[in-house]
């Protein structure tokens, strides 16, 4: 896995392809979900925090906390575990059962390094960028909800988002650390299940399901652990 690449230029191309496949091609679903969830968080917060003595900007502040601390890094990673994890496991599983991995092996290529390493590196590098997009579009969705429903004045929403500015940087760093760990979990667990598939099409399906299930459970455990380590 950590051996010197056979040809650096080929590995560089593989890394770029994986960044496109795992990150850029996931942006659509991430943006869509983030915008809708941001809107829902704002509407729910605004209707729940209805007391006159609570300032309106609290809704924006709540949305910011929810989106940065939990929604974007964790929920989005769980969604990516479903999309990217099953994709990786089924891709490698199909390659295994159709002897494409054996073909690479016989050519003298280190298949783990060639197939899995670019996926892990690509995900670790690109997922934090995807999550930043998720945060931005989550805030955007919240703003649209504030603007569209009139539940709170949009300036108040923006004040809430900008509040406690000093904490924001640490919160984002915390979210990105979590995302990086989750990216590693998703790609390594899914690659493991795909790479060691044996049998036929049925087993490829099983590997794909296992990859999503194990990745999701590990993400939840890692989330708890990291939150304790980083926030307490």
């Amino acid at each position: 896995m950590f051996t010197k690449p056979e040809k650096l230029s080929v590995y560089w191309t593989r890394l770029m392809e994986e960044m496109l496949q795992l990150g850029v091609k996931s942006l659509g679903i991430v943006i869509l979900m983030s915008a809708f969830m941001g809107a829902v968080i704002v509407i729910q917060s605004a209707t729940a925090i209805d007391a006159a003595w609570i300032p309106d900007y609290t809704v924006g502040f709540t949305a910011k906390q929810s989106i940065i601390l939990e929604f974007s890094p964790t929920i989005m990673s769980l969604i990516l575990a479903g999309k990217v994890g099953s994709n990786i496991a089924s891709e490698l599983g199909s390659m295994r059962v159709t002897e494409q991995i054996d073909a690479l092996e016989i050519m003298g290529i280190n298949t783990k390094a060639y197939l899995i390493r670019p996926k892990i590196i690509a995900a670790v590098l690109i997922f934090p960028v995807v999550i930043i997009f998720s945060m931005a579009f989550g805030f955007g969705g919240g703003w649209m909800a504030a603007f569209g429903t009139g539940l709170i004045p949009e300036e108040q929403y923006i004040v809430g988002i900008q509040s406690f500015y000093d904490d924001n940087l640490w919160m984002i760093t915390y979210a990105l650390i979590k995302t990086t760990v989750f990216a590693f979990i998703i790609t390594s667990v899914s690659s493991y299940h795909g790479y060691y598939t044996s049998g036929g099409a049925l087993e490829v399906g099983k590997s794909s399901t296992n990859a999503v299930v194990y990745s999701s459970v590990l993400i939840l455990l890692a989330n708890l652990l990291l939150t304790q380590l980083l926030l307490i």
Partner: protein, 243 residues
């Protein structure tokens, strides 16, 4: 060589000859594919030696094994072409990984190999867009693109119609002579045996039970070989007429 409690290969000793099509034949489950996987290093045998031109493959260091592997071409049963690469990229792939050729040189070599196996104007198609027979021929082109010293073919004509199967068999034989390769074909197809069997090893219950060529296989009195060879009605009739 065993898997759990099941011993698949017991006592197999054979010399594959250069410039000839060496056939490993036997019934399904007799250990042919396991033997090939041992030879090419996908399985490690528990005992014995695998010699490439007198050098023990299993005792080689990783780097030496890698070097030998660049001299091996392999044709898998289903072709094992890379789904995500086009026909031309599949053939170029080994050149990209192991040579310092320019893009133009790689394209020239790949096109030459594709033309050699009669694949023309299919460069930009993907494996799923061409027929099974074409996939096999592209896989042969990929196997010979590095001018290998050894060519292994695992049931090269399975799933093909008889005419295409014979074309593939003859192509393998021609390429073997052209490149002076040591070619090993794993098969249970009697048409292949009679068409290209220059040096044949019959595996039975994990042992090499009989050794000969395409002429001696039809006249042998070995019971297991006879049962295998004359299992089809057509060949049984042929034998009766001969007698």
């Amino acid at each position: 060589m065993s898997f759990g409690d099941t011993q698949v290969l017991h006592d197999v000793s054979f010399k594959f000859e250069r410039g000839k099509t060496n056939l490993v034949i036997g019934q399904s489950g007799s250990g042919k594919s396991v033997l090939t996987k041992c030879i090419i290093g996908l399985h490690a045998p528990e005992n014995g030696q695998i010699l490439y031109d007198g050098v023990d493959f299993s005792a080689m260091k990783k780097k030496e094994k890698k070097k030998i592997r660049t001299q091996i071409g392999m044709l898998f049963q289903a072709g094992a072409l890379f789904d995500s690469l086009s026909v031309i990229e599949n053939v170029i792939f080994p050149l990209k990984m192991f040579t310092k050729m320019s893009r133009k040189e790689m394209l020239d070599r790949a096109n030459f190999c594709l033309e050699r196996v009669d694949i023309i104007n299919k460069n930009n198609l993907f494996p799923s867009e061409i027929s099974g027979g074409m996939q096999k021929r592209v896989a042969i082109a990929r196997a010979i693109v590095m001018k290998p010293k050894y060519l292994f073919c695992d049931e090269p004509n399975s799933g093909l119609d008889p005419l295409t199967a014979i074309l593939i068999d003859n192509l393998i034989k021609e390429l073997t002579e052209e490149y002076n390769m040591t070619t090993v074909v794993i098969t249970h197809d009697m048409n292949s045996v009679l068409e290209i069997g220059e040096n044949i090893m019959f595996i039975y219950n994990g042992n090499n039970h009989w050794v000969g060529d395409k002429d001696s296989i039809i006249t042998t009195s070995n019971k297991e070989v006879n049962d295998f060879v004359y299992s089809s009605k057509f060949l049984k009739l042929f034998k009766e007429k001969m007698n």
